[in-house]
Subunit: 361 residues, 2 copies
Amino acid sequence: MSNLYAVVMAGGVGSRFWPRSRERFPKQFLEIFGLGTMIQNTISRIEPLVPAMNTFVVTNALHVDAVKSQLPFLPSENVLVEPVGRNTAPCVGIAAQWIEKIDPEGVMIVLPADHLISNVPEFLRLLTLASRVAVDTNALLTIGIHPTHPETGFGYIQFDDMPDVNPFLKEGVYRVKTFAEKPTRDTAELFLKSGDFLWNSGMFVWKASAILKEIAQNLPELSAQLAAIEPAVGTPSYQSAVDRAYGVIRSISIDYGVMEKASNVFVVRGDFGWSDVGSWDEVVRLTPTDSFGNSLRGAVFTKEVNGSYIDAGKKFVAALGVDDLIIISTDDAVLVCPKGRSQEVKEIVDFLRRKQINELL
Amino acid sequence: MSNLYAVVMAGGVGSRFWPRSRERFPKQFLEIFGLGTMIQNTISRIEPLVPAMNTFVVTNALHVDAVKSQLPFLPSENVLVEPVGRNTAPCVGIAAQWIEKIDPEGVMIVLPADHLISNVPEFLRLLTLASRVAVDTNALLTIGIHPTHPETGFGYIQFDDMPDVNPFLKEGVYRVKTFAEKPTRDTAELFLKSGDFLWNSGMFVWKASAILKEIAQNLPELSAQLAAIEPAVGTPSYQSAVDRAYGVIRSISIDYGVMEKASNVFVVRGDFGWSDVGSWDEVVRLTPTDSFGNSLRGAVFTKEVNGSYIDAGKKFVAALGVDDLIIISTDDAVLVCPKGRSQEVKEIVDFLRRKQINELL
């Protein structure tokens, strides 16, 4: 079997975990669940399949220091640095190009740096399965999550469960019919009811050569810029070649730019306790509680507090007589909001951006 | 008329304004209402009657630095330092002794450092009246506050409104019948209904010589210790004399030790927007609100927040979707509690004390 490579996409600048997440310190670098930051856990989770030397992290120039300090065991040349975020297609492109150069038959597993996965053995089993299909068929594979509710925050993948020549059908690997953008509530309910839609997790498996071929076909401009970078891969001039190319590369997602147009696309249907951890409410939902329904992190005093999530950071938080609140305290900011409304944290960040209160961003 | 002196009692170590108040930085040193700390406002309020050189502050050794830095215009020898708090009688005693030594006819106005008074002209009018009575009669005067509700947190003063030989009756200066300790709720309601009970504000007016005479009569032990200090007043050995005396002086209030026993005691009935500002709830009640019923101090973001008091300290506080909360943020701690429950803040301080988390006390 071909060698496996992991590509961890750590370019996110998510604002939904304000005040803990900041532009220079987004969610993937936070220790949100127990031990380890999200990116550390992403990488240690995949380690049984992919050794560190085969693991790449693509990140923004802003976050190189965070990546290197949180992942000291990662070879320094495995951190690919984008001067600016250009969505996922260029990120996948430069990683695929690097991997193809060192291993023309290499299979790459593309993973967001900030997801939570609770059933790791099942997750690894599916990645192994997907890798096998990628090798056997040169196909593009995506991991689809069995949906549990009509979520409007994710894209969806419709799969084809008709018997066909697909020899992997019985293993839960389906041909993709369509990719659907984030739906309205009504549409999401239809998707859920139909039974043949999965959540698009943003995780992919393919041969580096296969995705590069599809990029060439569907995103010729990006492909041309990758060609311009190519001679510099592994040389001291790599970064400047990347920086130059990113000056003209346009922002486009791999889903929209390639997956929706490519023909040989499969989805592996998965059910492994996945969450994209998109908000404080999602963190609250995923964090164990004490007998009062509280999740308390750090130095917290409570009296008659129920159903609340309190993260004191390095401070002391005293709460009394409140229910179902989310309280997040950091060195310079405090968030107080009821459970169920953490989506609106974005508005706080928007406010700070509008007012150019950069030290809190 | 005799010279007027002010004695500001700043020995409080109140814990009710945690997390803003700390053992080393109690309420009187906090800027709670608009500009100026409570002790600064106490002193500037009385300035039209008493110049700084006649103003004394009695404080604990812990707080000398705070007093001197907040009141730089005060002559350094006017800051009398108690090595330990021994309630109000010793505090009044050493101040009276000092004043009598520099001005045997001096009249002293005793004021707590941490009260709020909104109608200053009326307050000054009553102090002037009380001073005149003190000079004319050698009496002890206390300022009683017209009660507005059956408060159980204050002592009460019952006054005698029968026509008598008291020539000041028509000016609102009554003989005192009894001093009553903090009552139960039922008793407080009886007091309020009776119409002849006032709140004991802890403010007094008397000649230094008159109160010293009463101390000699009613608190002979304290008087003996004051006598031991007396030769040192105004000399370099004053502090060590005080420190020595405080080693044996016992803790007793001027109300209990003297006022309840003395015979020539009057109460000036006052109504000048007084508050002892005993809790965050009292601060909330006394602070102007915006059109959402909120009082916001410092850098605060709100969305759909109503009826709340938020003090961000030097941090940024973002609140969304909460009502009627008190949120106090300081450098190292955050308090979140609903309006109406700030009395329980004491329990947080008790907890910190029990756990010996001294850096937060």
